[in-house]
Subunit: 336 residues, 4 copies
């Protein structure tokens, strides 16, 4: 780490700072510029509070020489992580691409099984569906809960597709024991106690980027899980909050895909449905995600008549999904 | 609610939509413009998914005629909420102003008691201090935990100041039974299961705005608590994430103060310390918050020597705090 | 346009508002909800100041029923605009795809001609290069100016590639008479006097989205040009300013491509070089742009040795560009 | 400047980079950490393109040791700049506070003179009013133009108040010769050719922060003016574009006031009217700006009946302005 000291700071104050860093067990090397002084720090940076250091009046800036995330850092683990669900039932990472599809919410047995069969036929390798739903309003439908999980299990039995579903409350964790992939939603990306707990289970975790989360925060949150023992983490870009919200719910940040692929060995998937919130944008953003190098794409598919009528919502119909899936596969072939 | 239908949509599709809304139990009134059609909806909007409606292809836009938050809505509760901690030990809301001060983290008995005495002498009416700390890195200090709560209790006994401290894990809730004000941090503003649980306790809750949370989301989160029975909620503006982060950690959104005062009856406090992350900005932003009409201000105060030396971090020294408190009181007098 | 009136507004005030709108020549239709009143306005909305209307205390919200942009609006002009540069020398829009390449700045005759030949060989259909450079610091290199334009003309003569270059100062317009495509940079997107002037020339204009410009503002700026008579406008997505800037300069907003394709008939190009500011992100973002349906892609290509050494900056080497161009063409074939 | 080199970069590449920096005339000092290498650069940083350097693959990060702005930098000019309009007619900066008031647009002689008299009586020290209006839509009213300037001159003659009005088109500059303060609007903050031209006139310039401009960019734009010879520059915070726009047009960034006061010697004013776009937020934000230490506040005041009726728009009535001005003066006294 490099600390740039403000100009005009007295020698005495600089010495005091060096002593303080020294007492923390860091090796401090001093470099004098023409007007300013720079300190190079070597050792375990975990011993100091970098934010505190940065905010000191005598400090102009702090440049970290190593990324603060570790378990997820590609430098320490250059090979791509490949996650294998139940002995090859489905894989993701490295050369394995995952197409994850299903409804926003599980509504009924008929609904989830029908969609599961259709998305499988179209090439999906995972079934997604929400049983516990995070809703910004307490007055809105909160999901079927435990019985929704049972319906997902039935759909898995019928189709063989591994299931992806969201865990909201740390106290429900035991209900998820046989869930293939536990999703952590954008509002829980920094729910650290939940992440620590997920570090101690065997399920794969699909970790969504926060509503306005940085890439670094996403990797730090992955580290919360991995540091506690669970290395099966999939990262998910799902749109970020920006000033532009007139025509799409969030701004899909596709540059996060190549950035994450460089910084980490973990698989990266993209969720164009939640990012855009509009069905007419989902197909083109799914294709763009494939072209950008995503390891997987997660798409909402629905068969509800009023939505179908209106060509609507953020969910594609099964037919539209099949059409989009074909194009995704063509792009992957073209770039292979 | 008003639904503006896209131009060029067939009559048949519009009828289908009207029928669907009708079946949901809403009273639908149709208004034909020269090119477009507008639907006025009357009834319980909780029955339909507004996001879904908005994302339909045939819908151009949806204007909600009533705010979606209810329990916290000033229209339904015009009088200011005044929260009374332990029979007048401290009050906030209406004409009662709260000055909340203390260290970021509780570190030792000596530290917390010393600071508590000093901030009380300077006019603080609440003591804050973190026992459980949300840290973006799993490799950083996570707080003293349960023993930190004990130290806060000791400081309360010594000074009589009610205490404010953060709850992170829903499973620790019973440890907080006698904590005067439970803080919900910015990363948990939309941790709905935690909020629901806090709706069933008697503690006052200080709810921080999310890292990039909207004002509406903050009020909806307050509703999650209030709907479950706990009406003692304080809202806290603590800076929002914007593109400008070179000179301050976040952008303090002071316009949120008059906006919230208009929309809700709940007390509104401002935290300039976390918003700016820089001690040199805290005093002027605290004064601005007072001038903007905040019901309270929460300021970090520390007595750690290296920080004191460096005039640094986001914490004021007790002397700086006393100086700022004097000016806050002068502004409140000037505007009385 | 629909105006939702606040609840609890007196009948008298509503009448006053209706009279005022009526006097402006609008046809006002009143719709009474259970608690609120809604006004439907028909007529020329240009006669009233919508922002003013929206900010009135008695108005809750204003929903515009028609998009405020007109000349660029696809509803009024459903067919794709195809722009033909010098009788088919190069075309863009509809089924014509443009690959625009060249250095950030024109530096020397040797440089620009060498790059022009190489990018042409790799499939580029336009040559770009900056002669007048907008630099945030007045102490930085400001471009070669007029002699830079001459070097571009030479490169055009040598290769036949039409040229794209930026105009900054309205007073230099006459120097650009024979420039095929005049670029308006992100800092000038709302320089309305410049836009009006460009509405009176015959050059094609490539209009970049503002640094933090909305999609609607981009279309309104296009209207400033088109309303004054010049319909040859190309829109360019070049990244938007967001809170995430650790790993890329801006956030490339690829969802703007399908959104713009739906809203307007004008061609849409993407500039991944300026959006990301990092060469390692340019190829994947160029491919994603192609998959998202862009009508053109603009890529910086450089042959400067220090940059080449360091595989660096936001510019690809000619070899890297050729490689990326091949993949772009493959994606377009796969999706054809 | 400090350049942190990526780990695992070959010695050969580092040498090549050092040579290249050396050839640019910089003094390069090398510092080897345990895994990475850091270069300290001394000399004229204007010789290299920092963005280019930052984007090199072998560079991890670049920490600038000195701020890139110079003429406006307080380090190089520690005393507050005090601007004196016409021999003490009005002053701003240091201990002089400016209250700038007037209508958004000049509409008629009666209007502007009536408002000018009223705001002067309430304590305003400058009259503002727009003659040339930047409108995002080409279909909206664009201002009275030259005749508007004449009306402002009449109001100045009648009241003695110096006038502040916006210049949009560089070609109109000669019309502004006797205008006391030329305003550069948010859309022109980075119109560099306009700024250069303003560096060569004698008028004071009020430079607004860009719509989503950074603090550093604002100071660099001030440098564009000052470097060309005009040191009478006033900076203006006017709200920034963020994701939160439901209840206010922009987010007023009041922390920019103390930040700017530390970074620069130039006077800093705040415009709460444009920042919020809502009259009900203007008074509290004006008071907050005063408490935050602004050198001046600019407020829109209007006497148009429909607006007055509706208590509306972003403009206060003259009575409301007088009331707010009283409170501003009280806050300044309280903090004196």
């Amino acid at each position: 780490m490099v600390v740039v000291v403000n100009p005009d700071v007295s020698e005495e104050k600089i010495k005091y700072l060096i002593n303080w860093l020294d007492e923390k067990g860091l090796d401090v090397r001093v470099f004098h510029g023409n007007k300013q002084c720079v300190l190079g720090l070597i050792g375990d940076m975990g011993k100091i509070d970098i934010d505190m250091l940065r905010s000191l009046d005598i400090v102009e800036s702090v440049a970290e020489m190593e990324e603060s995330f570790k378990a997820s850092n590609r430098r320490l683990h250059p090979e791509d992580t490949v996650i294998d669900i139940h002995d090859g039932k489905a894989m993701i990472g490295g050369s394995y691409f995952a197409l994850i599809a299903g409804p926003c919410s599980v509504e009924s047995e008929e609904q989830i099984i029908s969609i599961a069969k259709q998305v499988k036929a179209a090439g999906a390798t995972f079934l997604r569906g929400g049983a516990f739903k995070p809703r910004s309003s307490p007055y809105d439908f909160q999901g079927l809960g435990e019985s929704g999980l049972d319906l997902l299990r039935k759909a898995r039995t019928m189709t063989g597709l591994p299931i992806v579903t969201e865990l909201m409350d740390i106290r429900s964790l035991e209900l998820f024991e046989d869930i293939d992939v536990i999703q952590v939603g954008a509002r829980n990306t920094q729910n650290y106690d939940l992440l620590k707990e997920l570090g101690q289970v065997k399920n794969t975790v699909l970790l969504k980027r926060g509503l306005a989360g940085t890439i670094r925060e996403l990797l730090m949150s992955a580290d919360y899980i991995m540091k506690n023992g669970n290395e099966n983490v999939i990262l998910c870009e799902r749109g970020i909050r920006t000033y532009e919200s007139d025509y799409a719910r969030n701004t899909l940040d596709l540059s996060a895909v190549p950035i994450l692929k460089r910084l980490t060995h973990l698989p990266v998937v993209v969720d164009p449905s939640h990012a855009t919130g509009r069905v007419d944008l989902v197909p083109s953003m799914a294709l763009a995600a494939a072209a950008a190098g995503a390891d997987g794409i997660m798409i909402e598919v629905h068969n509800d008549p009023p939505k179908a009528l209106c060509d609507g919502a953020q969910s594609l119909t099964p037919e539209e999904f099949a059409h989009t899936a074909q194009k995704i596969f063509k792009i992957r072939e073209a770039l292979a």
